[in-house]
Protein backbone atom coordinates (compact mmCIF):
# COMPACT_ATOMS: atom_id res chain seq x y z
CA UNK A 1 0.00 0.00 0.00
CA UNK A 2 3.00 2.29 0.35
CA UNK A 3 2.89 3.04 -3.33
CA UNK A 4 -0.26 5.03 -2.59
CA UNK A 5 1.99 7.60 -0.90
CA UNK A 6 3.84 8.13 -4.15
CA UNK A 7 0.96 7.92 -6.64
CA UNK A 8 0.08 11.62 -6.60
CA UNK A 9 3.70 12.72 -6.84
CA UNK A 10 4.40 10.28 -9.69
CA UNK A 11 1.41 11.63 -11.64
CA UNK A 12 2.63 15.17 -11.18
CA UNK A 13 6.19 14.34 -12.09
CA UNK A 14 4.95 12.70 -15.32
CA UNK A 15 3.71 16.11 -16.44
CA UNK A 16 6.73 17.98 -15.06
CA UNK A 17 9.01 15.70 -17.07
CA UNK A 18 7.42 16.92 -20.27
CA UNK A 19 8.58 20.43 -19.35
CA UNK A 20 12.25 19.49 -19.16
CA UNK A 21 14.15 21.17 -21.97
CA UNK A 22 14.52 19.01 -25.06
CA UNK A 23 17.58 18.76 -27.27
CA UNK A 24 16.07 21.32 -29.69
CA UNK A 25 16.05 23.97 -26.95
CA UNK A 26 19.64 23.14 -26.00
CA UNK A 27 20.63 23.37 -29.65
CA UNK A 28 19.09 26.83 -29.90
CA UNK A 29 20.86 27.92 -26.72
CA UNK A 30 24.16 26.68 -28.14
CA UNK A 31 23.50 28.63 -31.34
CA UNK A 32 22.60 31.80 -29.39
CA UNK A 33 24.81 34.84 -29.96
CA UNK A 34 25.26 35.74 -26.30
CA UNK A 35 24.12 34.98 -22.77
CA UNK A 36 21.20 37.41 -23.09
CA UNK A 37 19.79 35.40 -25.93
CA UNK A 38 20.16 32.21 -23.90
CA UNK A 39 18.11 33.82 -21.12
CA UNK A 40 15.52 34.91 -23.68
CA UNK A 41 15.19 31.31 -24.87
CA UNK A 42 14.82 30.22 -21.25
CA UNK A 43 11.99 32.75 -20.98
CA UNK A 44 9.94 30.56 -23.34
CA UNK A 45 10.23 27.59 -20.97
CA UNK A 46 9.27 26.86 -17.38
CA UNK A 47 12.23 29.04 -16.35
CA UNK A 48 10.01 32.02 -17.19
CA UNK A 49 8.75 31.91 -13.60
CA UNK A 50 12.29 32.19 -12.24
CA UNK A 51 13.14 34.98 -14.70
CA UNK A 52 10.05 36.87 -13.62
CA UNK A 53 10.87 36.47 -9.93
CA UNK A 54 14.48 37.60 -10.16
CA UNK A 55 14.69 41.38 -10.70
CA UNK A 56 18.18 41.46 -12.11
CA UNK A 57 17.83 38.98 -14.92
CA UNK A 58 21.53 39.15 -15.76
CA UNK A 59 22.18 37.42 -12.48
CA UNK A 60 21.85 34.03 -14.13
CA UNK A 61 23.06 32.21 -10.99
CA UNK A 62 20.14 33.65 -9.06
CA UNK A 63 17.74 32.56 -11.82
CA UNK A 64 19.07 28.99 -11.86
CA UNK A 65 19.13 28.83 -8.04
CA UNK A 66 15.54 30.05 -7.92
CA UNK A 67 14.50 27.35 -10.36
CA UNK A 68 16.26 24.62 -8.38
CA UNK A 69 14.71 25.80 -5.13
CA UNK A 70 11.28 25.95 -6.75
CA UNK A 71 11.50 22.38 -8.02
CA UNK A 72 12.94 21.04 -4.76
CA UNK A 73 10.25 22.75 -2.68
CA UNK A 74 7.56 21.33 -4.97
CA UNK A 75 8.90 17.80 -4.74
CA UNK A 76 9.29 18.04 -0.97
CA UNK A 77 5.71 19.15 -0.54
CA UNK A 78 4.51 16.25 -2.71
CA UNK A 79 6.55 13.69 -0.81
CA UNK A 80 5.54 14.85 2.66
CA UNK A 81 4.01 11.44 3.57
CA UNK A 82 7.32 9.71 2.77
CA UNK A 83 9.73 12.16 4.31
CA UNK A 84 12.36 9.57 5.12
CA UNK A 85 12.82 8.48 1.52
CA UNK A 86 12.52 12.01 0.12
CA UNK A 87 15.22 13.24 2.49
CA UNK A 88 17.67 10.73 1.05
CA UNK A 89 17.80 12.86 -2.06
CA UNK A 90 18.43 16.12 -0.22
CA UNK A 91 20.83 14.72 2.39
CA UNK A 92 23.62 14.93 -0.19
CA UNK A 93 23.60 18.69 0.35
CA UNK A 94 23.90 18.23 4.12
CA UNK A 95 26.75 15.86 3.46
CA UNK A 96 28.44 18.49 1.32
CA UNK A 97 27.93 21.10 4.07
CA UNK A 98 29.19 18.74 6.73
CA UNK A 99 32.39 18.18 4.76
CA UNK A 100 32.86 21.92 4.19
CA UNK A 101 32.23 22.76 7.85
CA UNK A 102 34.48 20.05 9.25
CA UNK A 103 37.29 20.84 6.83
CA UNK A 104 36.93 24.56 7.55
CA UNK A 105 37.28 23.81 11.25
CA UNK A 106 40.28 21.65 10.48
CA UNK A 107 42.13 24.29 8.48
CA UNK A 108 40.80 27.25 10.49
CA UNK A 109 39.24 29.10 7.55
CA UNK A 110 35.71 30.39 7.05
CA UNK A 111 33.42 27.80 5.47
CA UNK A 112 32.59 28.70 1.88
CA UNK A 113 30.20 27.32 -0.70
CA UNK A 114 27.59 26.02 1.75
CA UNK A 115 24.41 24.73 0.13
CA UNK A 116 21.03 25.59 1.61
CA UNK A 117 19.03 22.83 -0.09
CA UNK A 118 19.79 20.22 2.54
CA UNK A 119 17.44 18.70 5.07
CA UNK A 120 19.05 20.44 8.04
CA UNK A 121 20.51 23.61 6.53
CA UNK A 122 23.99 24.97 7.26
CA UNK A 123 23.12 26.83 10.49
CA UNK A 124 21.64 23.83 12.23
CA UNK A 125 24.50 21.65 11.04
CA UNK A 126 26.98 24.18 12.34
CA UNK A 127 25.23 24.19 15.70
CA UNK A 128 25.36 20.40 15.80
CA UNK A 129 29.02 20.32 14.92
CA UNK A 130 30.29 23.03 17.25
CA UNK A 131 31.42 21.56 20.50
CA UNK A 132 29.76 24.45 22.26
CA UNK A 133 26.87 26.09 20.51
CA UNK A 134 25.97 29.73 21.02
CA UNK A 135 22.64 31.45 21.49
CA UNK A 136 21.52 35.01 22.13
CA UNK A 137 21.50 35.90 25.79
CA UNK A 138 18.31 36.89 27.58
CA UNK A 139 18.97 40.62 27.28
CA UNK A 140 19.65 40.27 23.57
CA UNK A 141 22.93 42.11 23.93
CA UNK A 142 25.24 39.26 22.99
CA UNK A 143 25.60 35.53 22.95
CA UNK A 144 26.13 32.91 25.60
CA UNK A 145 27.76 29.54 25.13
CA UNK A 146 25.49 26.52 25.48
CA UNK A 147 26.09 22.80 25.23
CA UNK A 148 26.44 21.23 21.82
CA UNK A 149 23.35 20.67 19.70
CA UNK A 150 24.58 17.23 18.77
CA UNK A 151 21.90 15.55 20.84
CA UNK A 152 19.31 17.18 18.61
CA UNK A 153 20.79 15.43 15.57
CA UNK A 154 19.25 12.15 14.40
CA UNK A 155 21.35 9.09 15.19
CA UNK A 156 22.79 8.66 11.72
CA UNK A 157 23.86 12.30 11.50
CA UNK A 158 25.44 12.18 14.96
CA UNK A 159 27.36 9.12 13.78
CA UNK A 160 28.57 10.87 10.66
CA UNK A 161 29.75 13.84 12.66
CA UNK A 162 31.55 11.51 15.04
CA UNK A 163 33.17 9.58 12.17
CA UNK A 164 34.09 12.83 10.43
CA UNK A 165 35.76 14.07 13.59
CA UNK A 166 37.76 10.87 13.91
CA UNK A 167 38.89 11.24 10.29
CA UNK A 168 39.91 14.84 11.02
CA UNK A 169 42.41 13.54 13.55
CA UNK A 170 44.39 12.06 10.65
CA UNK A 171 45.00 15.60 9.38
CA UNK A 172 44.02 14.68 5.83
CA UNK A 173 40.98 16.58 4.46
CA UNK A 174 40.41 13.84 1.88
CA UNK A 175 39.97 11.30 4.65
CA UNK A 176 36.98 13.33 5.89
CA UNK A 177 35.42 13.22 2.41
CA UNK A 178 36.02 9.52 2.11
CA UNK A 179 34.57 8.59 5.50
CA UNK A 180 31.48 10.78 5.09
CA UNK A 181 30.77 9.68 1.49
CA UNK A 182 30.95 6.05 2.49
CA UNK A 183 28.77 6.57 5.57
CA UNK A 184 26.12 8.42 3.57
CA UNK A 185 25.96 6.00 0.64
CA UNK A 186 25.71 2.99 2.95
CA UNK A 187 23.03 4.71 5.03
CA UNK A 188 21.04 5.59 1.90
CA UNK A 189 21.34 2.06 0.47
CA UNK A 190 20.25 0.58 3.80
CA UNK A 191 17.27 2.93 4.12
CA UNK A 192 16.20 2.06 0.56
CA UNK A 193 16.62 -1.66 1.32
CA UNK A 194 14.45 -1.41 4.42
CA UNK A 195 11.76 0.33 2.40
CA UNK A 196 12.08 -2.44 -0.24
CA UNK A 197 12.87 0.12 -2.95
CA UNK A 198 15.21 -2.18 -4.84
CA UNK A 199 16.22 0.18 -7.60
CA UNK A 200 17.09 2.95 -5.16
CA UNK A 201 19.20 0.52 -3.17
CA UNK A 202 20.89 -0.51 -6.40
CA UNK A 203 21.49 3.16 -7.16
CA UNK A 204 23.44 3.80 -3.98
CA UNK A 205 25.32 0.54 -4.07
CA UNK A 206 26.20 1.39 -7.67
CA UNK A 207 27.35 4.81 -6.48
CA UNK A 208 29.79 3.10 -4.08
CA UNK A 209 31.06 0.74 -6.79
CA UNK A 210 31.48 3.45 -9.38
CA UNK A 211 33.13 5.87 -6.94
CA UNK A 212 35.57 3.05 -6.23
CA UNK A 213 36.03 2.39 -9.95
CA UNK A 214 36.83 6.07 -10.54
CA UNK A 215 39.27 6.13 -7.59
CA UNK A 216 40.96 3.02 -8.98
CA UNK A 217 41.25 4.61 -12.43
CA UNK A 218 42.72 7.79 -10.87
CA UNK A 219 45.20 5.87 -8.74
CA UNK A 220 46.26 3.87 -11.79
CA UNK A 221 46.77 7.07 -13.75
CA UNK A 222 48.82 8.63 -10.94
CA UNK A 223 50.61 5.36 -10.14
CA UNK A 224 50.03 5.76 -6.41
CA UNK A 225 50.58 2.10 -5.60
CA UNK A 226 47.97 -0.44 -4.58
CA UNK A 227 48.45 0.17 -0.84
CA UNK A 228 47.31 3.75 -1.19
CA UNK A 229 44.36 2.62 -3.33
CA UNK A 230 43.27 0.30 -0.54
CA UNK A 231 42.87 3.29 1.77
CA UNK A 232 41.01 5.39 -0.80
CA UNK A 233 38.12 2.99 -1.47
CA UNK A 234 34.65 2.90 0.07
CA UNK A 235 33.42 -0.23 1.82
CA UNK A 236 29.92 -1.59 1.40
CA UNK A 237 29.45 -1.73 -2.37
CA UNK A 238 28.48 -4.78 -4.41
CA UNK A 239 32.09 -5.32 -5.53
CA UNK A 240 34.42 -6.00 -2.58
CA UNK A 241 37.23 -3.48 -2.06
CA UNK A 242 39.94 -6.13 -2.35
CA UNK A 243 38.86 -6.91 -5.92
CA UNK A 244 39.51 -3.32 -6.94
CA UNK A 245 42.92 -3.50 -5.29
CA UNK A 246 43.64 -6.76 -7.11
CA UNK A 247 42.92 -5.07 -10.44
CA UNK A 248 45.22 -2.15 -9.70
CA UNK A 249 48.10 -3.40 -11.81
CA UNK A 250 46.10 -5.23 -14.49
CA UNK A 251 45.65 -3.81 -18.00
CA UNK A 252 42.93 -1.25 -18.70
CA UNK A 253 41.06 -3.83 -20.78
CA UNK A 254 40.92 -6.40 -18.02
CA UNK A 255 39.83 -3.70 -15.55
CA UNK A 256 37.01 -2.84 -17.96
CA UNK A 257 36.18 -6.51 -18.34
CA UNK A 258 36.07 -6.89 -14.56
CA UNK A 259 33.51 -4.06 -14.29
CA UNK A 260 31.55 -5.55 -17.20
CA UNK A 261 31.28 -8.82 -15.30
CA UNK A 262 29.62 -6.90 -12.48
CA UNK A 263 27.06 -5.41 -14.86
CA UNK A 264 28.71 -2.06 -15.55
CA UNK A 265 29.48 -2.89 -19.19
CA UNK A 266 27.64 0.13 -20.60
CA UNK A 267 30.22 2.43 -19.01
CA UNK A 268 32.68 1.51 -21.70
CA UNK A 269 30.40 2.13 -24.68
CA UNK A 270 32.68 5.10 -25.41
CA UNK A 271 36.29 3.98 -25.54
CA UNK A 272 37.58 7.11 -23.73
CA UNK A 273 36.30 5.71 -20.44
CA UNK A 274 39.02 3.07 -20.70
CA UNK A 275 41.84 5.57 -20.59
CA UNK A 276 40.54 8.76 -19.00
CA UNK A 277 39.23 8.86 -15.40
CA UNK A 278 37.27 12.03 -16.24
CA UNK A 279 35.45 10.23 -19.07
CA UNK A 280 34.78 7.31 -16.73
CA UNK A 281 33.33 9.71 -14.17
CA UNK A 282 31.05 11.18 -16.81
CA UNK A 283 29.99 7.73 -17.98
CA UNK A 284 29.35 6.69 -14.36
CA UNK A 285 27.03 9.61 -13.61
CA UNK A 286 25.17 8.95 -16.87
CA UNK A 287 24.91 5.27 -15.95
CA UNK A 288 23.35 6.04 -12.57
CA UNK A 289 20.98 8.66 -13.98
CA UNK A 290 19.94 6.16 -16.63
CA UNK A 291 19.34 3.48 -14.00
CA UNK A 292 16.70 5.66 -12.35
CA UNK A 293 15.39 7.02 -15.65
CA UNK A 294 14.75 3.45 -16.88
CA UNK A 295 12.85 2.74 -13.68
CA UNK A 296 10.84 5.89 -14.31
CA UNK A 297 10.12 4.78 -17.88
CA UNK A 298 8.59 1.53 -16.69
CA UNK A 299 5.81 3.63 -15.13
CA UNK A 300 6.35 2.17 -11.71
CA UNK A 301 4.91 3.96 -8.74
CA UNK A 302 7.52 4.71 -6.10
CA UNK A 303 10.31 7.14 -5.32
CA UNK A 304 12.39 6.19 -8.37
CA UNK A 305 10.59 8.26 -11.02
CA UNK A 306 10.70 11.25 -8.69
CA UNK A 307 14.42 10.88 -8.02
CA UNK A 308 14.96 10.41 -11.75
CA UNK A 309 13.15 13.69 -12.41
CA UNK A 310 15.19 15.54 -9.79
CA UNK A 311 18.45 14.20 -11.23
CA UNK A 312 17.36 15.14 -14.74
CA UNK A 313 16.40 18.63 -13.57
CA UNK A 314 19.72 19.17 -11.81
CA UNK A 315 21.54 17.94 -14.88
CA UNK A 316 19.55 20.36 -17.01
CA UNK A 317 20.46 23.27 -14.73
CA UNK A 318 24.10 22.21 -14.85
CA UNK A 319 24.04 22.19 -18.66
CA UNK A 320 22.37 25.60 -18.83
CA UNK A 321 25.03 26.99 -16.50
CA UNK A 322 27.76 25.59 -18.75
CA UNK A 323 26.17 27.26 -21.77
CA UNK A 324 25.69 30.65 -20.08
CA UNK A 325 29.19 30.71 -18.57
CA UNK A 326 30.54 29.65 -21.98
CA UNK A 327 28.65 32.42 -23.78
CA UNK A 328 29.82 35.03 -21.24
CA UNK A 329 33.42 33.95 -21.82
CA UNK A 330 33.08 33.71 -25.59
CA UNK A 331 33.79 30.00 -25.78
CA UNK A 332 33.02 28.60 -29.30
CA UNK A 333 29.87 26.51 -29.54
CA UNK A 334 31.71 23.39 -30.72
CA UNK A 335 33.71 23.25 -27.50
CA UNK A 336 30.55 23.93 -25.47
CA UNK A 337 28.75 21.11 -27.28
CA UNK A 338 31.56 18.75 -26.38
CA UNK A 339 31.35 19.76 -22.72
CA UNK A 340 27.65 18.97 -22.68
Amino acid sequence: MRENNFAFAVGRVRVLETRLLDSGKFERMLEARDADEVLRILGETEYAQALAAIKNQNDYEAVLDYERHRVFALVRSMLAPEREIAELYFLRYDLHNLKVLLKAEMTGVNPEGLADEGVFGPQRLQAMISRTGVRANAAGTGTVAVGTDLEKAPDYLAQWIEQGRQAMASGDPQAVDLVLDGAFYRFAAETARQGKWGILERYWLGLIDLTNAISTARCRRMATGSDFLGTALLEGGIIPVKEFVAFYDQSAESFAHFLELHGYGTLFAGKEALTSPAALENAASNYLRQLLADAGQSFMIGPEPIFAYLLAKENEIRKIRIIIVGKLNGIPREILRERL
Partner: protein, 153 residues
Protein backbone atom coordinates in the same frame (compact mmCIF):
# COMPACT_ATOMS: atom_id res chain seq x y z
CA UNK B 1 -34.75 -22.41 16.35
CA UNK B 2 -33.06 -24.39 13.66
CA UNK B 3 -30.28 -22.61 11.79
CA UNK B 4 -30.97 -22.34 8.05
CA UNK B 5 -27.47 -23.20 6.83
CA UNK B 6 -28.47 -23.05 3.18
CA UNK B 7 -29.62 -19.45 3.50
CA UNK B 8 -26.52 -18.49 5.47
CA UNK B 9 -24.21 -19.95 2.79
CA UNK B 10 -26.12 -18.10 0.09
CA UNK B 11 -25.69 -14.85 2.02
CA UNK B 12 -21.98 -15.58 2.33
CA UNK B 13 -21.77 -16.03 -1.47
CA UNK B 14 -23.51 -12.71 -1.95
CA UNK B 15 -21.20 -11.02 0.52
CA UNK B 16 -18.06 -12.40 -1.17
CA UNK B 17 -19.22 -11.40 -4.66
CA UNK B 18 -19.99 -7.82 -3.64
CA UNK B 19 -17.30 -7.19 -1.03
CA UNK B 20 -14.26 -8.71 -2.73
CA UNK B 21 -14.87 -7.13 -6.11
CA UNK B 22 -15.84 -3.86 -4.44
CA UNK B 23 -12.64 -3.82 -2.38
CA UNK B 24 -10.54 -4.53 -5.47
CA UNK B 25 -12.25 -1.74 -7.40
CA UNK B 26 -11.80 0.72 -4.56
CA UNK B 27 -8.09 0.00 -4.46
CA UNK B 28 -7.66 0.10 -8.23
CA UNK B 29 -9.59 3.35 -8.64
CA UNK B 30 -7.81 4.74 -5.58
CA UNK B 31 -4.35 4.21 -7.02
CA UNK B 32 -5.20 5.38 -10.54
CA UNK B 33 -7.15 8.30 -9.10
CA UNK B 34 -4.17 9.60 -7.14
CA UNK B 35 -1.91 9.45 -10.17
CA UNK B 36 -4.62 11.21 -12.19
CA UNK B 37 -4.89 13.94 -9.54
CA UNK B 38 -1.15 14.51 -9.81
CA UNK B 39 -1.41 14.87 -13.58
CA UNK B 40 -4.45 17.15 -13.45
CA UNK B 41 -2.81 19.32 -10.75
CA UNK B 42 -0.13 20.23 -13.27
CA UNK B 43 -2.25 20.07 -16.42
CA UNK B 44 -6.02 20.44 -15.94
CA UNK B 45 -6.69 19.88 -19.66
CA UNK B 46 -5.96 16.17 -19.15
CA UNK B 47 -9.00 15.64 -16.93
CA UNK B 48 -11.18 13.87 -19.51
CA UNK B 49 -8.72 11.20 -20.59
CA UNK B 50 -7.39 10.49 -17.11
CA UNK B 51 -10.94 10.24 -15.74
CA UNK B 52 -11.82 7.45 -18.19
CA UNK B 53 -8.71 5.49 -17.24
CA UNK B 54 -9.41 6.01 -13.55
CA UNK B 55 -12.97 4.72 -13.90
CA UNK B 56 -11.96 1.47 -15.65
CA UNK B 57 -11.02 -0.53 -12.51
CA UNK B 58 -14.40 0.46 -11.07
CA UNK B 59 -16.36 -1.94 -13.26
CA UNK B 60 -15.45 -5.04 -11.22
CA UNK B 61 -17.36 -3.63 -8.27
CA UNK B 62 -20.41 -3.25 -10.51
CA UNK B 63 -20.16 -6.85 -11.77
CA UNK B 64 -19.96 -8.08 -8.17
CA UNK B 65 -22.93 -5.93 -7.26
CA UNK B 66 -25.03 -7.42 -10.11
CA UNK B 67 -24.17 -11.00 -9.11
CA UNK B 68 -24.95 -10.11 -5.49
CA UNK B 69 -28.40 -8.88 -6.55
CA UNK B 70 -29.03 -12.09 -8.53
CA UNK B 71 -28.09 -14.24 -5.53
CA UNK B 72 -30.35 -12.12 -3.33
CA UNK B 73 -33.17 -12.72 -5.82
CA UNK B 74 -32.61 -16.47 -5.51
CA UNK B 75 -32.69 -16.37 -1.73
CA UNK B 76 -36.00 -14.60 -1.96
CA UNK B 77 -38.00 -13.55 1.09
CA UNK B 78 -39.78 -16.82 1.74
CA UNK B 79 -38.82 -20.24 2.99
CA UNK B 80 -35.25 -21.16 3.90
CA UNK B 81 -33.29 -22.65 0.99
CA UNK B 82 -31.69 -26.06 1.05
CA UNK B 83 -28.08 -26.63 2.05
CA UNK B 84 -27.29 -27.87 -1.45
CA UNK B 85 -28.67 -24.73 -3.10
CA UNK B 86 -26.99 -22.43 -0.58
CA UNK B 87 -23.64 -24.02 -1.30
CA UNK B 88 -24.17 -23.65 -5.04
CA UNK B 89 -25.03 -19.98 -4.64
CA UNK B 90 -21.92 -19.49 -2.52
CA UNK B 91 -19.71 -21.06 -5.20
CA UNK B 92 -21.44 -19.00 -7.90
CA UNK B 93 -20.39 -15.81 -6.17
CA UNK B 94 -16.73 -16.78 -5.97
CA UNK B 95 -15.58 -16.25 -9.61
CA UNK B 96 -16.70 -12.64 -9.78
CA UNK B 97 -15.51 -12.00 -6.22
CA UNK B 98 -11.99 -13.39 -6.49
CA UNK B 99 -11.24 -12.47 -10.10
CA UNK B 100 -12.85 -9.08 -9.51
CA UNK B 101 -10.60 -8.44 -6.51
CA UNK B 102 -7.34 -9.26 -8.26
CA UNK B 103 -8.17 -7.92 -11.70
CA UNK B 104 -9.33 -4.58 -10.30
CA UNK B 105 -6.09 -4.10 -8.38
CA UNK B 106 -3.97 -4.98 -11.39
CA UNK B 107 -6.14 -2.97 -13.71
CA UNK B 108 -5.61 -0.03 -11.38
CA UNK B 109 -1.88 -0.36 -11.88
CA UNK B 110 -2.20 -0.59 -15.65
CA UNK B 111 -4.50 2.43 -15.59
CA UNK B 112 -2.01 4.36 -13.45
CA UNK B 113 0.66 3.55 -16.03
CA UNK B 114 -1.76 4.54 -18.81
CA UNK B 115 -2.30 7.88 -17.10
CA UNK B 116 1.48 8.26 -17.28
CA UNK B 117 1.18 7.87 -21.06
CA UNK B 118 -1.58 10.50 -21.17
CA UNK B 119 0.71 12.88 -19.23
CA UNK B 120 3.66 12.37 -21.53
CA UNK B 121 2.00 11.81 -24.91
CA UNK B 122 -1.67 12.72 -24.80
CA UNK B 123 -2.16 11.59 -28.41
CA UNK B 124 -1.20 8.02 -27.44
CA UNK B 125 -3.44 7.91 -24.38
CA UNK B 126 -5.96 5.59 -26.06
CA UNK B 127 -3.32 2.86 -26.16
CA UNK B 128 -3.09 2.94 -22.38
CA UNK B 129 -6.84 2.43 -22.31
CA UNK B 130 -6.52 -0.62 -24.57
CA UNK B 131 -3.98 -2.18 -22.19
CA UNK B 132 -6.17 -1.51 -19.19
CA UNK B 133 -9.08 -2.96 -21.16
CA UNK B 134 -7.19 -6.22 -21.67
CA UNK B 135 -7.30 -6.81 -17.91
CA UNK B 136 -11.03 -6.21 -18.02
CA UNK B 137 -11.45 -9.34 -20.21
CA UNK B 138 -10.90 -11.64 -17.25
CA UNK B 139 -13.26 -9.73 -15.00
CA UNK B 140 -15.92 -10.04 -17.72
CA UNK B 141 -15.28 -13.78 -18.16
CA UNK B 142 -15.63 -14.34 -14.42
CA UNK B 143 -18.75 -12.19 -14.33
CA UNK B 144 -20.35 -14.19 -17.18
CA UNK B 145 -19.53 -17.44 -15.46
CA UNK B 146 -20.92 -16.33 -12.12
CA UNK B 147 -24.03 -15.19 -13.97
CA UNK B 148 -24.43 -18.55 -15.76
CA UNK B 149 -23.86 -20.44 -12.52
CA UNK B 150 -26.53 -18.50 -10.62
CA UNK B 151 -28.96 -18.99 -13.51
CA UNK B 152 -28.20 -22.71 -13.74
CA UNK B 153 -29.43 -23.28 -10.21
Amino acid sequence: MEIAWGTILAYLGMFLAVALSGYGSARGVGLAGQVACGVVAEDPTKFGKTMLLTALPGTQGIYGFVIGMLILGRIGGGAPITLDMGLRLLISGLPVGLVGLLSAIWQGRVSAAGIGIVAKRPEEGTKGMVFAGLVETYAILAFIFSYLMVNAI
